[in-house]
Structure formats: C-alpha cells, structure tokens
C-alpha cells in the first residue's frame, strides 16, 4: 500500500535516532558508489578495447565539476565501509547491540577523522592541478581531440 514517494518522504520525516540516519547514509552511499562504479568499470575497460575513449574519459573526470565529485565519492566509500563493518560485527555479536548508540558515534567519528584530512589533501591537489592547467582548466574535453590510436 505504500508508495516509493511516501517511503522516501517519511524516511526523512521520521524522527529516528542515530541508527535511522546511519541507514539512510548507508543506503545512499551504497547506491552512489554503485552508480559511479558502473560508469567507472565500463570506462576503464576501454583502456583495453578503445584506448582513445579511455583517455577522453580520464580527462572528463578531471573536468572540475566532475573532479570535485570525487570528494563525496571518497566520503561515500569511507562511510559505507566503516558502517558496513559496524553492521557486520554487530550481526555476529548480538550481545554487543546494547552499545549500538556508541557504535554509530564511533563510526561517524572515525569517518570524520579520516575523511576530513583526506578531503583537504584531495582538494589542494586538485587546485594545484587546475592552476597548472592555466586558462584551459574549465574546458570540457572534446572527443574530436582524442583520435583513435
């Protein structure tokens, strides 16, 4: 009887506690990674099948609006990984469930501690790269510039 729209709306409206938001974050991050992964896998395969297309894609990934997306991707992978491990541990050690509140806190904490410096490093590297590229930095790569090898 419930629709997708209702489920999504109420998932946000429901005043759940830490576990609820962990679930929301886990699901979104998982799906986001999968979306990226699908593109990434097909594109990487091009390195063998159509190397010129691969090179074109690599440059698209360096195009600033897309390159910036790497930071949330990193966040997604790190959070999803830590939370996934948390869930797995607790699934096999049910007696630890009483520490669940604490476990979500630790997960978020660990995530932030590791992610923030990484994000800063990634961001700085990107800026340096763009500076290096000069005026062309915002130029979207054109396929015609990548002739078949």
């Amino acid at each position: 009887m419930s629709t997708l729209a209702l489920t999504i709306r109420e998932s946000i409206r429901y005043r759940g506690r830490s576990g609820h938001w962990s679930w929301v974050a886990h699901r979104i991050s998982g799906l986001a990674i999968l979306l990226f992964l699908t593109i990434h896998v097909w594109d990487t395969a091009n390195a063998h099948f159509y190397p010129h297309l691969y090179e074109w894609f690599v440059d698209i990934f360096k195009w600033p609006p897309i390159a910036l997306g790497e930071i949330p991707l990193m966040a997604a992978v790190l959070y999803h990984a830590f939370n996934g491990i948390r869930i797995s541990i607790l699934d096999f050690k049910p007696e630890l469930w009483k520490h669940q509140q604490r476990s979500t806190q630790i997960t978020w904490g660990l995530f932030l501690v590791i992610f923030i410096p990484i994000a800063i490093v990634m961001f700085i590297t990107m800026i340096q790269h763009w500076q290096h590229m000069g005026d062309a930095w915002m130029q979207f790569p054109r396929l015609s510039d990548y002739p078949p090898r």
Binding site: S2, R15, G19, S22, W23, D91, P94, W97, K98, Q100
Partner: protein, 240 residues
Amino acid sequence: MQVNLRIRRFNPEKDSKAWWGDYTLDDVSRNDTVLDLLNRVKWEIDGTLALRRSCAHGVCGSDALRINGANALACKTLVSRLSSGAATAAIQIEPILGLRVIKDLIVDMEPFMDHYRSVLPYFINDSPPPADGRERLQSQEDRARFDDTTKCILCACCTTSCPSFWANEKYVGPAAIVQAHRFIYDSRDEGAADRLKVVGDTFGVWRCRTNFNCTSACPREIEVTKAIAEVKKVLATGEI
C-alpha cells in the same frame, strides 16, 4: 501550561483526504500523558476524534501513535518529555505508518496480525510432559535467554517504525520476529525449525537493515534489533 495539539484527522465518511486538526488545551500538567490530552480533545472538544486505548498505562498496546514524528504509546509519553519547560508546547500526533488508516488515528491492524500469526507464535512440543504430572523443568539461565522477547504486547510501534516495512508490507516485521525469537530461544520448545523457515524466507529477517527505529520505539524496552540479530545468527549457524 498550554499545549497546541496538531492531530492528523481523516474520516472516510466525510473527507477525501487527511487534514490537520489544531486544538489548544489549557491547564495541562507536565505529568499528563499524551493519551490524557487526546481524551480531553475527544471528551471536551471534538467527540468525533477516533483512537484506540484501553489500559492507559502502557501494558495493552492499543495506542501506538506517531508522536512528534516518532512512534510511541500515547499513554506512556508524558508531556514533560515533549516540551522544553516553556509555558507552551506543540505536539503533533499522526497514525502509525505503513498500515491503512481507517479513521483518524486508527489503522487496520490485520496485516500486522497476519504477520504475527505467520511465525507460528505458539509453543510447540509434542513430546509427553514429565510422567509425574508436573511442570517441565527449565534452568534460570535458559529462562533468561528469551525473557526480553516475552514482554511484547503487540503494539506495532516497532514494525511501523521500520522503513523496510513502510516500503514493503510483506516484510514480517520486527514484532513477528520478536515473537519467533521468544519461542526459538525457549529451551522447552521444539518448533524452531518450522519457525525459522518462515523468518528465514525472503520476507523474513533478511529485510531488516539494522535501522534500529524498532528498538527506539519499543515501549516495553525490548532489544528488538538484538533479537532479530540473534535469529539471523541462528539462521547463519544452525545453532541456538
């Protein structure tokens, strides 16, 4: 103090869709329960308001509602827990999610009860009881293993707080799993294999994404997610 109550209303005989009713109550004590407030609305302001209630002290499971966004029993939720200490407070009441609303705060419990009944929620032991005509013996330790899940009053706070259930009402839901757990972990019971068939199926425990809303919502303070995890563990290892 004063309370501004917003109640989700729907009368199928009149309304084509649900609406919010606003009611202001004066002279509310901080020790009043939400059920007291709803009763006041029903008795003093608008008799058409429909809700279920019986025991008024959290043991019958009638008045599971969504109070300020999260599931709880109205009769176990005190105004003091919902207000900051200011002279007025706003409280919002909705029916629980995932079950069809029949009228106002009343939902159709049948799908919930069907799930409950599906897990064989009764003691199964066909071997003859002790020859002396007395009770089967059970150690205190064995009794303790399923104590938590015997407390369930089938209020549905848990099942209707679970996003997996909102998304798909075929999921048996935490309450049914709690009931299954109560018997699976009872050393006297012999029906575990059959029960595990039900809760181990596609719409059984595997739909649980360890979201924990169920545990937070349970008015009996049952460690619902833990019980689910224990059942998953039995399914994974074949050992109780």
